[in-house]
Structure formats: structure tokens, C-alpha cells
């Protein structure tokens, strides 16, 4: 397991009814702490999977 700090720029919306509409151009920075764990895929390939995410 590794813990990473990930910075993402994105337009972020929060909705209760699941419907998002409009042309919002505001891009925000999200800082997230992601915990990734090493797994093995179907063909034996290594895959880093996200196990947990928290807002910083």
C-alpha cells in the first residue's frame, strides 16, 4: 500500500438529484490523499488499485 497526495484541477459539482446542467467554467483545485495497493490482474500484470480517497 502506498499513500499519495494527488492534485487535480476540475469543475466540481455536488448534487442531490444527480442532474447536473449548465456551462460552468469555474475550475477548482482538488487535493486528495489516495491510498493505492498493488494487485495482480487477470493476466498476471501488476495493477495499482485505489483503496481509499480523502479530501485533504
Amino acid at each position: 500500500m502506498i499513500q499519495t497526495l494527488v492534485g487535480i484541477a476540475a469543475a466540481v459539482y455536488e448534487s442531490r438529484d444527480g442532474f447536473v446542467s449548465g456551462s460552468d467554467t469555474d475550475i477548482h483545485d482538488l487535493e486528495l490523499v489516495w491510498r493505492l495497493a498493488l494487485h495482480t490482474g487477470e493476466h498476471g500484470e501488476p495493477r495499482w488499485l485505489l483503496h481509499d480517497s480523502t479530501d485533504r
Partner: protein, 326 residues
């Protein structure tokens, strides 16, 4: 000068500064939009060519098919505005989204809506990744709607002869395929946003550079996953986490920062796709618990959506050799 005079000058100065700031901001925004319009012009040509090429692999990607699907959605929305919802709407995957979009435009633009001409549909983004869950096209849809100002009374002057009767809309609609047809999955987002204008145009899975790079890195590291060496034998446990990872990656490619970076990029993309439509791609790269944390960070009642996401940076804060957390 009296205190009231000083206060008056200070207020006037403040107003002038505010007006000046607003003018500069507006000019900067107009210039930015003008630059994006020029960029979009070139992008539309590239996306059109990519769609034609993608149609050789999957005919669904033909520009005519995509445009026809957008026009079909607009016709169905018009049936909602007329109050006689088309029977074809109920059977569609995107029925709820089309209805919600149509009603939201009524509450925003006004009642008595009807398109006054055929919509102009420009392609902005084409992704033929070879699976229904990840194939996407984003389009810029521009059209004019007639509105009834007397039924609406939403805009200034609606009850006068000067009332606005025609409204022009410029939107980004994203479509995804299901069982050989395109369906609407998102009506949100600026059609001229930087990320959509710079997103990779993917005519076929063989041109999906990001996924191919990730697969190559996985392939390179596959042999190391069969190694009997444990990570503790490879690195200095006292080193800072980024150095610890680099140390490990020298002997074991599974810990390569390139592979981890590719996985994080893939996660960001799948997270954005889950905002639009399917969560299936996210299940390929995240656990159920993690998906819940991404989509509902403030509890199950509120859902978070992200759009136009770009990974700005990432760093390791805790390496694989750190003591497990309790």
C-alpha cells in the same frame, strides 16, 4: 476637508477601482473566449476527421450518425415542451436526462419553447476505446429556441412588446453508445473548455496512447510480479517515501513511478466518466469503498461530479514499506 468629504472621495475611489477591475476582468474573459473559439475551429476539423476514421472501425462513429443522434434527442426534448411526450422517449436509457434537461431549460429560458431551426452540431471529442463503457463523443450543440414571453415572465421586459422571443443556446452534449445507438450521458460543461479541446482524439484502440503506455509498463513489470523478492529486501526503509519508491523501482518495475503515474491518470479519467455515465470503468481501477469515497465524500445523500479534470501533480507521501495503519 471635512470627514464626510473624505469619506465621499474614498467611496468614489472605491467605486472607480471596482468598475475598473470589472472592465479589465470582462475584457480578459472576452479575449480568452475569442482565443478558445479560434482553437475550437481547428479542433472541430480534427475531431471530424477522427470520427470518419473511427467509423471505419465502428460505423457508429460516423459524423452523420452522431449528428442524427443529437437531432433525435432535441426532437424528443421538443416533444416534452409541447406537452405530448413522444412514446419513443420512455424506452430510452437517457429518458430521465432528456426530461430533466428539457424541464431545466423551461425554468431557465421560459415556457412555450420550440426549436426555430435545425441545431448545428460540431464534434469536439472522439474516443473509440473499443468498449461501450468507455467510448464517448462530445459535441458542441448550437440552436435557437422560440419562447413565449407571456407564458414565461422570466426575463426583463417579458410583458412588453420588446420581450425576448428567441434565445440562442450553445452547449456541450456528451454521448455514449449502448447496444449500437448513441445516448445522451451529459449536458454539462463548457463547450469551449480547455480540457475538452485538448483531450486526445482516439480513432481506434490502437491509437489510444495513454492506455497503450500503461499496458506496456504493466507488461514490463509483469515478470517482477513473479519474483520471490520481498520489497523490504530492495530498499532503504529510512529513506523518504519518494526515494524509497525509486529505490524499489530499480529492482522491481511494479514500483515504477511511471506505472503509478499512469494508474493515477487512468483513475482520474475513470472518475470523470463515472460522473457522466457508467461507473464500470472505475470498478476496473478502484475498490467499492474507494468509489464510494470518490463519489460521495460528504455522505450518501450528496454526490460529487467532476468535469474537465486534469491531473496537476502527484507525490508519494507514504511508501510501501511504511508500517500498516491501524
Amino acid at each position: 476637508m471635512s470627514a464626510a468629504g473624505i469619506a465621499g472621495w474614498a467611496l468614489a475611489g472605491g467605486v472607480l477601482i471596482y468598475v475598473g477591475w470589472a472592465v479589465v476582468r470582462s475584457l480578459a474573459s472576452s479575449e480568452r473566449r475569442a482565443r478558445l473559439r479560434v482553437r475550437a475551429h481547428g479542433r472541430v476539423g480534427d475531431a471530424e476527421r477522427t470520427a470518419v476514421e473511427a467509423a471505419l472501425d465502428d460505423p457508429l462513429f460516423s459524423p452523420e450518425q452522431i449528428r442524427s443522434s443529437v437531432h433525435e434527442v432535441l426532437d424528443l426534448a421538443a416533444s416534452v415542451w409541447r406537452g405530448g411526450e413522444a412514446s419513443a422517449l420512455a424506452a430510452r436509457y437517457d429518458a430521465a436526462l432528456i426530461r430533466s434537461w428539457a424541464h431545466s431549460r423551461e425554468s431557465w429560458v421560459g415556457k412555450g419553447l420550440r426549436p426555430t431551426s435545425k441545431a448545428t452540431v460540431d464534434l469536439l471529442r472522439v474516443a473509440n476505446r473499443g468498449s461501450e463503457a468507455e467510448d464517448r463523443v462530445s459535441t458542441r450543440v448550437r440552436f435557437a429556441l422560440h419562447r413565449d414571453p407571456h407564458a414565461s415572465a422570466l426575463l426583463p421586459g417579458d410583458q412588453t412588446v420588446l420581450a425576448t422571443r428567441t434565445v440562442h443556446l450553445d452547449e456541450r452534449w456528451t454521448l455514449a453508445p449502448r447496444q449500437g445507438r448513441w445516448y445522451l450521458v451529459s449536458v454539462a460543461g463548457d463547450p469551449l473548455s480547455g480540457p475538452v479541446l485538448s483531450a486526445p482524439l482516439i480513432a481506434s484502440p490502437a491509437q489510444d496512447r495513454e492506455r497503450l503506455e500503461e499496458q506496456s509498463l504493466q507488461e514490463l513489470a509483469r515478470h517482477d510480479s513473479q519474483s520471490d523478492i520481498t520489497p523490504g529486501e530492495l530498499a532503504d526503509m529510512a529513506a523518504p517515501p519518494p526515494l524509497e519508491l525509486l529505490d524499489l523501482s530499480v529492482a522491481d518495475d511494479r514500483f515504477s513511478p511511471l506505472l503509478i503515474g499512469a494508474a493515477i491518470n487512468h483513475l482520474v479519467e475513470a472518475w470523470e466518466e463515472a460522473s457522466d455515465d457508467s461507473e464500470n470503468p472505475l470498478y476496473q481501477v478502484a475498490t467499492k469503498h474507494a468509489i464510494c469515497a470518490l463519489l460521495h465524500p460528504k455522505g450518501p445523500a450528496m454526490r460529487r461530479f467532476i468535469r474537465d479534470a486534469t491531473l496537476k501533480h502527484w507525490e508519494v507521501r507514504e511508501g510501501p514499506l511504511a508500517a500498516p495503519r491501524r
